[in-house]
Symmetry: C2
Subunit: 250 residues, 2 copies
């Protein structure tokens, strides 16, 4: 655990079902929050189709730009599950049947370990396994790449198995100030307060509810005391601008 | 409307709030379905932070690889809204105050058209506007890039304004066959049926409900008659494999 180094991650979501709109993605937000707790920042997400080239190109771009690359989807037993093949090809290594994965599946399926099921024991050469407490077929770690399932409840189980095990930095903390106002009325104040405080970001997120306009102003920093200072400065600045802020989210 | 050319699009989601997990994205699935109706295929999605370089790099990669590039987020009045600046820089054109956008905002805000609000009239040079029926501040079209709001209800209004106006090909149709089975038991059948029919994709989407395991098998093609043929072949194949399929989604 180091506070001066920033650790980053990317997520590659592999799945025609997301790109067709059939399935609403749930892994991005879950992984983002999980990474935050580990002190790792999610820098980029890509969603690509179940195609060898598209997967390989994205994997090679994202794994070198980040400390960690997570992938979701395409590791099941059916013909459209090509993630392992695509990542092995991208890395230039062969696909093998991992002995530990075969043992896990063999223990689960017994003499019903068909060729299709054995597909779930295939990994790029040199990989280790990530435990899947839900449905046995394991996730895969190869280098800085973490290959996980697409079904959110399975992905979440695999992440639980990785909890606290990946080196990370200081988690980004956040604190929210809000007001019933058009965000444009607060814009000058937000910019001035952010500029006056190093290491702080302020995001403005408008909403429309109950026939009224409001906005949440989310302050982000790695230091709790700094967050409190900036929240106080922002509250004071908004009041000066004739806005009536609340300390917290609306 | 042409049936022999495939039109593709990419989506670039711009927003720290998605990458921090604070906000659950809702634009990917909505745009995916809307594009499907227009006969345009969503090929790739990227999510990047509110940073000039990250936005510019993604814009230049995705706009040349696809017929259309949509962006969501970062076009409001506050300091963290830098999408217009980043896209103009990526295209190598200056940012101007668009006269029509200024007129729209002037009509709405009257003498309260502050500098912050006037930010929402800024566009890359050479752009045209996309109507925003909800909150007036328009979307922006420049070349094949469609720059839209991040708030889903506003994005959806902008897409409604574009409905039927973008050249597209034949929409991808889908039909689902399902069964209470482990997908691994159906894997060989799925692969064989897909292989036997050109121009058809079959995706397998497992689920766990009511303590049981099931899977939806989604057949995709541009031809309704072909879909029916493949659905019948898949039903027959699954029955041969000892599985009891239903014609439709579970």
């Amino acid at each position: 655990m180091s506070t001066d180094r920033i650790y980053t991650a990317a997520l590659l979501v592999i799945g025609d079902e997301i790109l067709s709109g059939r399935t609403q993605d749930a892994n991005i937000a879950y992984l983002a929050k999980w990474l935050g707790v580990q002190g790792i920042r999610l820098k980029e997400v890509r969603v690509v189709a179940d195609e060898m080239d598209a997967i390989g190109e994205a994997v090679n771009a994202l794994r070198v730009q980040n400390d960690y690359l997570f992938t979701t989807g395409g590791i099941g037993p059916t013909h459209d599950d090509i993630t392992v093949d695509a990542i092995a090809a991208a890395l230039g290594v062969p696909v093998i049947v991992h002995p530990d994965a075969r043992a896990i599946l063999s223990g689960y399926y017994g003499d019903k370990l068909t060729d299709a099921r054995l597909r779930m024991a295939r990994t790029p050469e040199g990989a280790s396994l990530i435990e899947n407490p839900r449905t046995k077929a394991p996730g895969i770690r190869v280098g800085n790449i973490f290959i996980m399932a697409g079904v959110p409840i399975i992905t979440q189980g695999m992440l639980a198995a990785l909890d606290g095990k990946l080196p990370g930095g200081a988690p980004v903390l956040s604190r929210t100030v809000a007001a019933w106002t058009q965000e444009s009325a607060a814009a000058a104040t937000l910019a001035a307060v952010e500029k006056a405080h190093d290491g702080v970001q302020i995001g403005s997120y408008p909403f429309w509810r109950e026939g009224k306009t409001g906005a949440n102003f989310v302050i982000r920093a790695v230091d709790e005391a700094l967050l409190a200072t900036v929240a106080a400065a922002l509250m004071a600045g908004l009041q000066e601008a004739g806005i009536d802020p609340v300390d917290g989210e609306l």
